[in-house]
Amino acid sequence: MIRKSVLPLAVAMMSLMGLTGCGAFGDEDPAESAAREPADGDASAQAQHALPYDVKPLLAPDKEYFGVALDGAPTSLKPVDAFAKTVGKKPNLVGSYSSWGDGFNAKGAKNVFEDGSLLYVSWEPFKPGLGTIADGSQDTYIKRYAASVRETNVPVAISFGHEMNGHWYPWGTKKQTPDNFVKAWRHIHDLFQDEGATNVIWVWSPNVVNPVPDVKLKAYWPGDAYVDWTGVVGYWTQTGAKTFDTLYGPTLRQVAGFTDKPVLISETSAEPGDRRRADVRQLLGGVEQNKDVIGFVWFNIPKRADWRIQSSPLALAEFKRLIADEAFGFEVPKS
């Protein structure tokens, strides 16, 4: 009796095992399937094995970046569209400012990327000091910021502590040392690497040396491994340098002494006045002619002066004429 019931039971369980076993064999080894090219229709496998956005093609593009900083952008792209309408060309780099302690503007970064542009963030450490950043006590914030950047998975240019060679910012020469600046920079960079935020273009962005000739830039240089672009902040004023070479030349020559990273004029504009049209011509002409310079970011915000290009019709007309050149602007690739 027992024999009659046990054996069929055993056979039944065996066949059940066989069935479940076969199911388990189907696709049990995820690494084995990962080693194969995912099928076209297999979106989940493609997404899972997709590489993060590779910024390498963006580092030294064939054409010039045409950037702009506008109030309200990049959270909204309406100011960018309006500016594009004004100057007759769509910018492909959107400048923005982020104070230390602010979260990363992931939405803005996506907006900009979907519009075919690159987000440029000037990360300003007003508080709590470069030493505090370097010693690790800000790591939680930095890691959260980095994780957010990584998750966004769109290219972002980040310029930490711009104009560090000037005395006018709290992270400048008056309150901080070059050593502190380099340590803080490297620490932030390391944490971004640890988090895997590889979609960042690191922009080291001093002010032009003209107003602060005694401050040597090399001491502030974190190293080639930590920087992708050299940014140069230099405005055209009514009383300042009149040519591209006199405004940016001294800085570029000094920088060329320790690195050959591509140069972006990371913040510029021309002060309204008689010279403005000529200054615009100098800027755009210089950017186009200088092989090391990969573009500029026009500061189109009224702050201390009305830096907006539309405030001077003659200068605007010149800007429109020159920026129309094919050398300026390109679509930031989607992958």
């Binding site: 024999r3 080894d29 990962a34 899972q48 094995h49 590489l51 490297r186 390391d190 640890d194 895997g196």
Partner: protein, 563 residues
């Protein structure tokens, strides 16, 4: 109960009409000890069934074989309405009246122990053997299930084994990881079955089933059954040697030669099996049944010499297995503690079994079958040998300070202790399975502990995402530095050759490799970026790949590529 409607109750010759009324005179013969009115038990009415053997079998046989308790008092139906007097009635409505209060029924016994048929607890017969095999089949299915619940991508050593190229046969390479793991499971199941066979031959089927059940739920059994390596084959060879020793126990001493090829091959499958050749030699002596004294020792000597000779030939042909005596700096105490956790239950039960076995050869379920059992010395020696063998791997590895694969190697020793543990379970359950709950308790404890341990030990690196990314990075020419070169080489075997993958170091070794910049990509499994890769010009971080399993403690894969 004694309704007249049931024609079966009528005596022959009674009216057979369905409407026939109960005849009062029939009542004294009605076999209704409970519903009718036995006033009291009257011994004088008792008649033994043997006295009234019916001439013709029929319904009346029943009442003839059972005593009538009552007899005196009969229910007298009142107001009888014979059927023929009331033809209008649609159906018969019986009416009863009880003349005397119904007495309490006789108290029934709590349970009745049925007479034990002589066939139970007897020697093995064909039927009980088949039942045992059926149970063994269930045990094997449980074992397969415990192995199958483990899964994932290859362990580095599995990948290395698969890439070592036909060490066993082309079959494994064709089947890939899945095929190799299935083959391991097949060896593991066969080993359990052989263990059952050996224990049955040495002791009895009940101990054998308990041994197989205990062994099937061990952490090491489930692990090796799902581990693409030679360990499972090695265990199978040892189990086969053990079974053949038991099988030839009554044969001429030269029959032991059958076991020697299996014993000699086992260390060449997995070097740790060499530890158990002395045990097998001792068992060759102890299991010899017919030839006691000199014959038994001759059997042991024959086994030792033949196995040694075969091993020597193997070393000549194949070289010495490597890694068997590698010293390391692992904590001996930790190793012994862990071994205790992995095999402690089995060993404890085995010791109980050994003690019980030394005291009594049998439990005495079949008093008529006593005798012809090994003597006390031999029983004690067998218990000691089998139990102490479980300690060999932990002690040896603790001595070496090398904890490598100890969770697998403990299974080798337990293979020998488990027959004693099976006997222990059988003894704890007692004669005639008096305390089955003890056996169930031990089994469930071993099962739960084994499952939990396997779950925590069987954690192959989750390499799928890394492989998915590296597939897009590698080509047929590059050289790659990796923490998991074997895994990468195995999974990316269609794109790269194994020689393109090198093991990554740490510290100065890594720094020097990075500085030289000879590698096209560097893949590390590390929680944070090593200093050697901080701020380097030659490489850029491509991506960081944390395990998709949030609960995983696995450090993320970090991939650098040349700038």
């Amino acid at each position: 109960m004694s309704s007249g409607q049931d024609s079966g109750w009528f005596e022959q010759g009674q009216p057979q009409s369905p409407y026939a009324e109960p005849q009062p005179e029939a009542y004294p013969e009605q076999p209704a000890p409970y519903s009718q009115q036995p006033t009291s038990y009257q011994p004088q009415d008792y008649t033994y069934p043997q006295t009234t053997i019916p001439q013709q079998p029929g319904p009346q046989d029943w009442q003839q074989q059972y005593p009538s308790y009552g007899g005196g008092a009969v229910a007298e139906p009142q107001d009888r309405q014979p059927h023929d007097q009331d033809a209008e009635s649609d159906y018969y409505r019986p009416e009863y009246s009880v003349l005397e209060p119904e007495p309490e029924p006789e108290p029934e016994p709590g349970y009745v122990l049925p007479a034990v048929p002589v066939s139970a607890w007897s020697m093995d017969n064909s039927r009980s053997a088949w039942i045992s095999r059926g149970v063994l089949l269930l045990i094997l299915m449980v074992q397969a299930g415990l192995s199958f619940r483990l899964g994932g991508s290859a362990f580095p050593s599995e990948a290395e084994y698969l890439m070592s190229g036909g060490r066993i046969s082309g079959l494994v390479a064709d089947g890939g990881l899945t095929g190799a793991r299935l083959l391991s499971l097949a060896w593991a199941l066969a080993a359990t079955a052989l263990l059952y066979g050996a224990t049955r031959l040495l002791f009895n089927p009940r101990a054998a089933l308990a041994a197989a059940a205990m062994y099937s739920v061990l952490e090491s059994t489930a692990f090796t059954g799902r581990y693409a390596s030679m360990h499972s084959l090695s265990l199978f060879l040892l189990a086969a040697a053990l079974w053949l020793l038991a099988k030839t126990r009554q044969a001429h001493p030269t029959a032991v030669l059958l076991a020697t090829p299996f014993a000699a091959l086992a260390p060449f499958a997995a070097y740790s099996a060499a530890l158990y050749l002395p045990t097998l030699t001792v068992l060759a002596v102890l299991t010899a049944y017919r030839f006691r004294g000199v014959g038994a020792f001759a059997r042991g000597a024959l086994f030792a010499v033949a196995t040694g000779a075969l091993c020597a030939v193997g070393v000549q042909l194949n070289g010495t297995p490597t890694g068997w005596n590698a010293h390391s700096g692992d904590s001996a105490l930790t190793m012994l503690k862990e071994s205790g956790q992995w095999g402690g239950i089995v060993l404890l039960v085995a010791v109980i079994g050994a003690v019980g076995y030394a005291k009594r050869a049998r439990m005495g379920e079949m008093p008529w079958a006593e005798g012809d059992a090994p003597g006390a010395v031999r029983r004690a020696a067998l218990g000691l040998t089998l139990c102490s063998t479980a300690l060999l791997a932990p002690l040896y590895q603790a001595y070496l300070g090398n904890g490598s694969s100890l969770h697998i190697h403990v299974g080798f020793g337990l293979l020998f202790a488990v027959p004693m543990a099976g006997l222990g379970v059988s003894r704890l359950m007692g004669a005639h399975l008096r305390y089955p709950q003890i056996g169930i308790m031990i089994y469930v404890a071993a099962l739960v502990v084994g499952m939990a341990q396997t779950q925590s030990l069987y954690r192959p690196p989750d390499s799928a995402r890394m492989i998915g990314v590296m597939r897009q990075v590698v080509d047929g020419k590059g050289v790659y530095l990796s923490d998991d070169p074997e895994i990468s080489a195995y999974y990316l075997r269609s794109a790269t050759k194994a020689g393109q993958w090198k093991q990554a170091g740490r510290g100065d070794a890594l720094a020097s490799d990075v500085k030289k910049g000879t590698y096209d990509a560097i893949v590390l499994r590390t929680a944070s970026t090593p200093d050697a890769l901080r701020g380097v010009k030659q490489y850029r971080l491509l991506t960081v790949l944390p395990s998709p399993d949030k609960d995983s403690e696995q450090a993320p894969y970090r991939i650098w590529v040349k700038k």
